[in-house]
């Protein structure tokens, strides 16, 4: 029973701490963020499994890591020099189509690793690449040569309208009123539009979204 409550308390604490650390913590991690994530998981697990350890011995270090992580992230946000020290700098592995051997050696990346990363980015031929940059979070950014980059509308002198941002307005039968307000619509307006398509109750809609041209996409709940 003690373990049950300890687990709940520490779980809540770790969730709050991870939320406070920001979205990056669960996505692409900087080196210091990875260290913090590993340490927090270990620190939370110890007092859960060993009930002899006071809970504070788990809580204080977790809060200390939160302080250190948010502090370093704030410092790296405010100062370029601090960012370079804390997160490192991006490394150019291919520059103007030429592989930088010294940089590969320094980062201990072999050619196979480089080619693999490029293939992951959909570049099977190294000759197509102008720049390859290893970012500070370990991801590789690839910039293809002009002749190999995908065609864009600008190349064809076309000026299509922007796609806008489609917003969800019904999720599992529940109307998202704040999104509906963005389109200057009321629930009644929405119901009227859906009634024309054979829907008499908004709760019967599983999902509905609307784009900037007020085009409505919807799907009825199964079995209704």
């Amino acid at each position: 029973m003690i373990v049950f409550f300890r687990t709940l308390i520490l779980f809540a604490l770790v969730v709050i701490v991870m939320r406070l650390m920001g979205k990056r913590q669960i996505g692409e991690l900087q080196p210091f963020e990875l260290v913090v994530a590993i340490m927090i998981s270990e620190l939370a697990a110890l007092p859960i499994t060993d009930t002899e350890i006071p809970l504070l011995d788990g809580i204080i270090p977790i809060l200390t890591l939160l302080f250190a992580q948010v502090g370093l992230a704030y410092l790296s946000l405010k100062s370029n020099r601090a960012r370079a020290i804390i997160c490192g700098r991006p490394s150019i592995l291919i520059e103007k189509g030429r592989i930088i051997e010294s940089e590969l050696r320094r980062l201990r990346i072999n050619l196979n690793d480089l080619l693999e990363q490029l293939r992951v980015k959909n570049f099977a031929n190294i000759a197509e690449i102008d720049y390859a940059i290893l970012e500070t979070n370990g991801q590789m950014s690839v910039i293809p040569k002009d002749s190999c980059r995908p065609l864009i509308t600008k190349d064809l002198d076309l000026n299509p309208p922007g796609p806008g941002l489609p917003l969800s307005i019904i999720l599992d039968g529940k109307v998202i009123t704040h999104n509906l307000k963005i389109f200057n619509l009321t629930e009644n307006d929405l119901l009227l539009r859906l009634q024309k398509q054979g829907i008499n109750n908004l709760q019967d809609v599983f999902f509905a979204s609307m784009d900037h041209t007020n085009d409505l996409y919807w799907q009825k709940k199964e079995g209704v």
Binding site: E52, L56, D57, L63, Y74
Partner: protein, 131 residues
Amino acid sequence: MTLHKLLVPITLMALLLFLISLGWGMIIILEKSATTLLVSTEEVRSLVSNSNWSEAEKAFQKVEVKWSHTREYWPLLIHHQEIDRIEECFGKIKSYLAHQDSSNTLAEIYVLISYIQHIPENKRLNLQNIF
């Protein structure tokens, strides 16, 4: 607007202050309660040394009362094994006192004193404890 910009550093400073005061508070609480226990235990030790058994038993009962208060909040601050060791000591001393076994009582009182002294020493902020 300015306050919004300063929200992160202010919160960080508040968190830092909270953590430092929590740590410092823990040390102070442990030092105070350990000193109270040690003074009373020393009294028992001197009474046992003088073979004043009836007074020693009374003095030990007072130590037990103080310990029962201390025992309520020490589990929040220190490893529970340390508390178990002290409890074990208390049991032994009580039994030795009842049998007026001076050598064993004194030996166990010294063990108890070292256990109690060890607790705040272990939490004190110094280089030995950090490394």
